[in-house]
Amino acid sequence: MSVMTYREALNLALREEMRRDPRVFVIGEEVGLYEGAYKVTQGLLKEFGAQRVVDTPIAESGFTGVGIGAAMVGLRPVVEMMTFNFALLALDQIVNSAAKMHYMSGGQFNVPIVIRGPGGPAAQLAAQHSQSMETYFYHVPGLKVVRPTTPMDAKGLLKASIRDDNPVIFIESETLYSVKGEVPDDPEFLIPLGKAVVRREGTDITVIAYMGMMYRAMEAAEELEKEGISVELVDPRTLRPMDTETIINSVRKTHRVVIVEAGAGFAGMGSEISAFVTEQAFDDLDAPVERVTGANAPMPYARNLEKLKTPSKDKILAAIRRVCNMNGG
């Protein structure tokens, strides 16, 4: 084990996979000479050269399509979106080309591509640079969608994504790049896609969260421990395919559920989790499922308004207390 930042863990995952497999290359805006807008690709150009660390002009649809074409004929591209907001310019390539190629070719052409970069709420970046982007992708059959919360997950999940034979949307976070944590040194350490993790065991309520919201929920759980409420925290890690089994098992144990998500609540991740929990474990519930979500508003710039947009620890605390005091089931 080594202690490193989330950013370093991603960088190490890229290095290890590029050393292991000559078909893996990195392509995107400022990934080479500039060493990445958020320095995730730092040092890669020096180690692997310009053929495998490819700086592009600002042409998201173009270079994403280049990645897809290269993947169709045997390469394994890692496409960096400087921020995932820019992936909207490549949405057609991702949704109509990458996600559907294998299906519409009757299994003849798969697209082993990773599209990665930061997304989700950032710090005062306003409406166009600070939003939860996973919702645009996890609806699409053919895509896998990953949101790694810790440095360990960042490394293990990125390596598994690069080795996956399908298109993987891998959304990091500006706010987590400097978070430190333990990361296994083993270059064969992988975290399989589609497996959730129980981050904290508890008996009274299941709280489901990921990325920044997981850290906030963890603080809330520790505070509630003092009040005698035992919170189990589940992190899905992969949003598609979703590990419903781990979540349902937790619900069967605690009988109460709160879902926390940073994005706007309408048709968000919480809606889906709430739906399958209700469908599969209705009789196990002692109270209605509650969601704590980002406000249904664009991200404002002003610091005070920005704070109101994203779920706070207080809102999470209040929701957990409410659900734990209910006896509806």
Binding site: G69, F109, G142
Partner: protein, 336 residues
């Protein structure tokens, strides 16, 4: 005019020998007959959805593809039956795909707009206008990355030219020197919108100049001219790893799709009749007969052979079962 390569026998005044002439005529007739039969099957309800016919444009796909090696790649848009067949796909399996049957090239999951054939390096039928141009650039990128000497021909219509992806792809391919031949089939109408109503620069080949790559225009109704122009581009691209842009001046004799059968709202009857005088198959047949490369009997034999093969393709498609229900959920992901 550079001499086109020949395969056995002496090159004629046309620059091709009898064997090549026979193959070109056969391939063009095969596409024509395939499309006519597909139209018939559509009216019988055996083919659904959108069906875009290539009738009138056969010389472009046949001439261009005849200059490729089997390990070269081809990619196209949604009017791609011709490109797929020219690259060597079995008409039986192509027709079965149009019928939505299990023996179709894409197991019946793709349909008319999504023919793919890995065995011939045909990288598909793509139905979002402009979207396959960056993909073609990516294939060029991979060829270079892998140290290969193949090329890819990327066929698209004039309708893709106003799309941003046309310009992004031309820029990237030129910037990175990728072995891609961008082949614009200018049939003058994007659905019902004429090039004059869509493009500030209607001479599409000139966009090559903007990106510092060779741009050329060719008569897309003349299969030999297409061969000559594409052949030069292929040789240059293979050797120098630089992209090319070719604009083939062509015309579709039918409407945009079967839902626009006559294509009569946005173009005049006179124009369509005039263009039909440029029929690439009739022109080429007359030329090879005049040059004495093939006899009337040869041509009749080719026509019979083509008709038989397409009848066989329709019978095959008809007999092929529907895909089993469980296939709905297969091929969504590749299992590792």
């Amino acid at each position: 005019m550079a001499k086109a390569p020949t395969r056995g026998g002496a090159p004629s005044a046309l620059g091709v020998d009898a064997a090549v002439a026979k193959r070109l005529l056969t391939d063009m007739l095969l596409i024509r007959r395939f499309e006519e039969k597909a139209a018939e099957a559509y009216t019988l309800g055996k083919i659904g959805g959108f069906l875009h016919l290539y009738i009138g444009e056969e010389a472009v796909a046949v001439g261009a593809t005849s200059m490729l090696r089997p390990d070269d790649y081809a990619i196209s848009a949604y009017r791609e039956h011709g490109h797929c067949l020219a690259k060597g796909s079995d008409p039986k399996r192509a027709m079965a795909e149009l019928f939505g049957r299990r023996d179709g090239l894409s197991k019946g999951k793709g349909g008319s707009m999504h023919l793919f054939d890995k065995s011939t390096n045909f990288l598909g039928g793509h139905a979002i206008v402009g979207a396959h141009l960056p993909i073609a650039a990516g294939v060029g990128f991979a060829i270079k990355y892998q140290g290969g000497d193949q090329v890819i021909i990327c066929s698209f219509g004039d309708g893709a030219v106003p799309e941003g992806e046309f310009h992004e792809s031309m820029n990237l391919a030129a910037l990175w020197k990728l072995p891609v031949i961008f082949l614009c089939e200018n049939n003058r109408y994007a659905m019902g919108t004429s090039i004059e109503r869509a493009l500030a620069q209607t001479e599409i080949w000139k966009f090559g100049q903007s990106y510092g790559i060779p741009g050329e225009r060719v008569d897309g109704m003349d299969v030999l001219a297409v061969r000559e122009t594409v052949g030069r581009a292929v040789a240059r691209t293979r050797q120098q790893k630089t992209p090319s842009l070719i604009e083939a001046d062509t015309y579709r004799f039918r409407g945009h799709s079967m839902r626009d059968p006559a294509g009569a709202v946005y173009r005049t009857k006179e124009e369509v009749e005039r263009e039909k005088q440029r029929d690439p198959i009739a022109q080429f047949r007359d030329k090879v007969l005049t040059a004495g490369l093939l006899s009337e009997a040869d041509v009749r034999a080719i026509e019979k052979d083509v008709n038989d093969r397409i009848d066989e393709a329709v019978a095959f498609a008809d007999a092929s079962p529907e895909p089993p229900g469980e296939w709905l959920f297969t091929d969504i992901y590749k299992e590792s």
